[in-house]
């Protein structure tokens, strides 16, 4: 499967994301923010970082980058799209996912190994996991607090669209939400970083690999 990883000015985790894609057995294609071209990929990953310096709001400028026209169209057409950290913020700003991400309630940048509980394994990016499975991956953010109005939160819960929840709540996210999916299950936003937990040599383990291997079952 060809997985495109978009590089915006200020992306940090694009190289790690491409590596994680390869470790999971897929082909990684580098996509450029300024091109109106997805190069025939089967899935798109928006990586973490500080696109456009986080100016205005995190993800607010990246949302209008040329490549996002094609990403939004493809996402609406059912292509698997995963936004990690800054990528999650971009997906919310693009209205592909509800809610928003604001500054951590404790106001400090958090950088830690974080345990999550997987709550939905029917999305394009979580099918390798079991519901209730606990995974430990890296969390590193300053503005990772997920917020939405109560009606939206109730809808996400009722429709099973919370894909992962923090064990504990490291950043003040409402209902400890770490990741959500859209109605169709092809678009996923996740604040912590599975791409930093795919090899034993570095990171807290290989618990993050499942997000990338899940794509294989989408194709099959």
């Amino acid at each position: 499967m060809k997985v495109g990883v978009v590089t915006f000015p200020g992306s940090l985790d694009d190289a790690d994301a491409r590596r994680a894609v390869r470790v999971a057995g897929h082909e990684a294609i580098a996509l450029w923010h300024g091109d109106h071209d997805l190069q025939g990929v089967d899935a798109v990953l928006l990586p973490g970082g500080f696109s456009y310096g986080d100016y205005l709001r995190c993800g607010a400028i990246a949302r209008f980058a040329p490549v996002m026209t094609e990403v939004v169209d493809a996402a609406r057409g059912g292509m698997p799209v995963l936004g990690i950290c800054n990528g999650f913020q971009i997906l919310c700003e693009s209205h592909l996912l509800p809610g928003a991400l604001i500054r951590n309630d404790h106001r400090k940048f958090g950088c830690l190994d974080q345990t999550l509980t997987i709550e939905n394994n029917t999305s394009a990016w979580t099918s390798s996991y079991a519901v209730g499975q606990q995974v430990t991956i890296v969390l590193k953010n300053g503005e990772g607090s997920f917020v939405a109005d109560d009606k939206t939160l109730d809808m996400l819960e009722a429709e099973g669209r919370v894909i992962a929840r923090y064990v504990g709540n490291p950043n003040g996210s409402q209902r400890a939400i770490a990741g959500i999916t859209n109605e169709a299950g092809n678009v996923v936003g996740l604040m912590p970083h599975p791409e930093h937990a795919v090899e034993g040599l570095c990171g807290p383990g290989t618990d993050g690999l499942g997000f990338f291997t899940s794509l294989g079952s989408v194709l099959a």
Partner: protein, 81 residues
């Protein structure tokens, strides 16, 4: 030429950690009696030509699509000159 100001504020129900940080700093500097601080953004736009109703509607569209995120923020548009 006209100058239009767009004020963007976090919605009342949204936690404002930056405002809280400022609120915490004030008493440390000896400024007492402040019970709440909310921090927002102010945009000053210089608009070319006459500020017609259509142009003002466009400014509102700018405020809604880019300058603010309606999920977490409210905005107010006012013409200052």
């Amino acid at each position: 030429m006209a100058r239009v100001v767009v004020d963007v504020m976090p919605k009342p129900e949204i936690l404002d950690p930056q405002g809280k940080a400022v609120l915490g700093a004030l008493p440390r500097l000896g400024f007492d009696g402040v019970t709440e601080v909310r921090q927002g953004k102010r945009f000053e736009l210089e608009i070319d030509g006459d500020l017609t109703e259509d142009r003002l509607a466009e400014v509102n569209a700018m405020a809604e699509t880019l300058l603010s995120n309606p999920v977490i923020e409210d905005y107010a548009v006012r013409v200052v000159s």
